[in-house]
């Protein structure tokens, strides 16, 4: 299994999200809405979360996946997951 990131760094997270969504990293502020502000469609929003799951070696339920609508939400959910493996 590829080594997974256990340290949660928000800037690193921002860069990963920007890469998947294919926008400039400075377009993604903490509370930028992926769908409303960046026009990300449901498939791409899902891909963002799946990439994060793989990168941080965590598993989210389908409902948790659908809550990740911004960088801050992704950060909070990952932080929670990483605290309670």
């Amino acid at each position: 299994m590829a080594s997974t990131e256990t340290v949660l760094d928000k800037e690193d997270l921002r860069a990963t999200v920007a890469q998947v969504v294919e926008v400039d990293v400075d377009e993604i502020h903490d509370d930028t809405s992926l769908v409303d502000d960046l026009g990300v469609d449901s498939l791409m929003a899902l891909e963002v979360v799946v990439v994060l799951e793989k990168k941080y070696g965590v598993r989210m339920t389908e409902s948790e996946l659908k809550q990740v609508t911004s960088l801050q939400r992704a950060y909070d959910l990952l932080a929670a997951k990483l605290r309670t493996p």
């Binding site: 294919e22 469609d41 498939l43 791409m44």
Partner: protein, 137 residues
């Protein structure tokens, strides 16, 4: 001479060649269009009774457009190295006309092409391809 072996029969109409703009230094941008008639062979099996143009054939339309409008004199010989990313945003049906705007960015041993495809009813796909110049590896 368009590639002979292709799942898409429609000819590529060149609306603008990929020419770098020396004044602005903007990346070369080419524009092409294709009309996907009902007789396109892929529609028969994709799907019977529900013809919808396959996503990969949209990528092929971008690929054929790139081969036809590649920059350079003589025109660069391009080998498709990768589909870097592709997003399908809307469906294409028999009889639709698509317009492809491609932006060319030089990379180490070839080109990266970022293309946007629009159809009769709005955006259809976003495709980014990577090409090596020269024969296949």
């Amino acid at each position: 001479m368009p590639t002979v072996v292709s799942p898409v029969r429609a000819p590529v109409h060149v609306l603008a060649e990929a020419v770098a703009d020396p004044t602005t230094g903007a990346a070369p941008r080419s524009v092409t269009s294709l009309v996907l008639e009902t007789q396109e062979p892929v529609f028969r099996g994709h799907y019977p009774g529900f013809p919808i143009f396959p996503g990969v054939c949209l990528i092929e339309c971008v690929h054929r457009s790139c081969l036809t409008t590649a920059p350079g004199t003589p025109r660069a010989v391009l080998t498709l190295a990768a589909v870097e990313s592709t997003r399908f945003l809307g469906a294409v049906f028999p009889g639709d006309r698509i317009v492809i705007e491609s932006t060319w960015t030089a990379i180490s041993d070839g080109w990266r092409v970022t293309a946007r495809i629009r159809g009769d009813r709005g955006d259809v796909a976003a495709v980014r391809l990577r090409y090596h110049t020269g024969e296949a590896g």
